[in-house]
């Protein structure tokens, strides 16, 4: 068998990225079973490689893939009648498997298919870890190996995590449906938090050789955009998309050509993505005028202050501190308190920053958080207290597991070690 022509491979790859969620969520409606649906959709993509090379790339690749995957599912059903046995697992409403669609029949997606899938994968009865893993596997179509790599765990560990999450869905009876309007706020939060966690995992990789995992950041953006299309009236969904865009706009400026970390203070602002900023600001305006003052709106507003500043010096620190005060009220975590303390340091000077940070040193939740000592080191350096700064940089170095961050901290450590005490 000869390899399919490159154009076909590209088309299948593009369809994988663009259509996976649609295809899988439609097929699950038919099979009522995650595993069977996954297998049938994978097979459909494999069949596309051969078929598209032979017959040409279809006008609507998603519809082609869905139709073939559904046909695969019906064959599985006929062969082993596993479908009948598995029906109770995800059964919610009456659904008759369609007659064999046959050649020429196109199986269409229903508007709620993708929402059902994502709300099920992000059900609050699942742990945050499981929600992230399931969302990347089922909603984004990443393989377990890819998800494992993104979170630096062994493939077998990730596979077990995904299997256990699916088992919980089936055994605990997590329903496969979209929430009612009463439930929507709570359920949307659970979804949006998951998307934000995926984005954060991509924004700063917890460990490893690269500062960021742009693939994860892009996946998170992709889901946020999809949710925005599917839930256009939900202000929190609008706010989350705004937050991701306003943060992501600075992505390329965060590392230099050598792959080293560039702090926002020294970033080349001409590299910031103006389109993302414009879109983010527009969405943020819409969320705010819808009356939302949620965590996402405040965080997006914080990102917007940086995006709109012409230079580091022109940054409106008073507004940033005020926004952190608001965020701390709504979301009183040690990390938010630390970020507020840092902002105070930029507003009122490094001395003020240090005294804001001091009480946080005893915070158990920050004991192993490298950014606490790194922030302290930075203010000490700005005050010329080089020896203390060197100690603090050294401490932060012991805590960080990301090698790009470590390189940055080592650079600073050398700098203050050369200066007078």
């Amino acid at each position: 068998m000869s390899a399919p022509p490159e154009g076909v491979v590209d088309a299948v790859t593009a369809a994988y990225r663009a259509e996976w969620t649609r295809v899988l969520s439609t097929v699950i409606r038919v099979t009522r079973d995650f595993d069977t649906a996954e297998d049938c959709v994978q097979d459909a993509y494999a069949q596309a490689l051969l078929s598209w090379a032979r017959d040409g790339i279809p006008d609507r690749p998603g519809a082609w893939l869905t139709t073939v995957a559904v046909r695969n599912a019906l064959q599985v059903h006929r062969r082993a009648s596993t479908l009948a046995k598995r029906l109770p697992d995800l059964v919610q409403e009456d659904f008759e498997p369609p007659a064999d669609p046959g050649a020429g029949t196109v199986f269409e997606e229903l508007p709620d298919d993708r929402l059902r899938l994502i709300f099920t994968c992000c059900h609050p009865a699942l742990s945050a870890e499981s929600r992230i893993a399931l969302t990347l596997r089922m909603v984004c179509g990443l393989t377990s190996a890819e998800v494992a790599k993104a979170f630096l765990v062994k493939e077998a560990t990730m596979q077990a995590r995904i299997t256990r999450a699916k088992k919980k869905i089936a055994d605990a009876g997590i329903p496969y449906r979209t929430p009612t309007s009463d439930e929507l706020p709570e359920r949307v939060t659970s979804v949006l938090d998951t998307v934000l966690l995926v984005y954060n995992a991509g924004h700063i990789a917890a460990a490893g050789d690269a500062l960021m995992r742009p693939d994860l950041a892009e996946r998170a953006l992709q889901i946020a955009r999809m949710l925005h299309v599917l839930l256009p009236d939900d202000a929190e969904t609008v706010a989350l998309l705004a937050l991701l865009l306003l943060t992501d706009a600075r992505r390329t400026a965060r590392v230099d050509d050598a792959g080293d970390l560039v702090q926002i203070e020294h970033q080349d602002r001409s590299l910031w993505d103006r389109d993302e900023i414009r879109e983010g600001l527009d969405l943020l305006g819409r969320a705010t005028s819808a009356g939302s003052t949620s965590r996402y709106v405040i965080m997006a507003s914080l990102a917007a202050v940086h995006d709109e500043a012409q230079s580091w010096e022109a940054t409106d620190w008073a507004r940033i501190v005020a926004l952190y005060d608001l965020l701390l009220e709504r979301w009183p975590t040690p990390v938010v308190a630390l970020n507020r303390a840092i902002a105070v340091g930029f507003l009122e000077g490094p001395e003020a920053g240090l005294s804001e940070i001091a009480p946080l040193m005893a915070e158990a939740g920050l004991a192993t958080y490298p950014y606490l000592t790194a922030a302290r080191a930075d203010f000490l350096r700005r005050l010329g207290r080089n020896r203390e700064a060197a100690d603090a940089y050294g401490e932060a170095l012991l805590l960080t597991e990301n090698s790009v961050e470590a390189t940055y901290l080592r650079g600073r450590l050398e700098e203050v070690s050369l200066g007078p005490d």
């Binding site: 919610q92 059900h123 009865a125 055994d171 605990a172 009876g173 997590i174 329903p175 439930e183």
Partner: protein, 87 residues
Amino acid sequence: MCMEFTERNSANVLSFLCLHPSFTGTSVRHSGAGVEVVAGAVVEAPLGLDALYVIQAGDLDEALAIAKRVPPPWDALEVRPLLSETA
């Protein structure tokens, strides 16, 4: 209180058991020396098990909605599927 909740939700509550406080419990557990008898509950208060309801629900969301209606006082409730429906 248990009774009232049970009656009002009779369509879903199949049976319930209310327990005495956890200090009245006695545990039997495996140790290095074999099986020993220990005073107190296996799970220490404040999260000791006080009551057990067997309910019937179409899915987890319905089960959680019923759980939220259990009359106070309680700190936390856990909803778990039954391994088998017949004893």
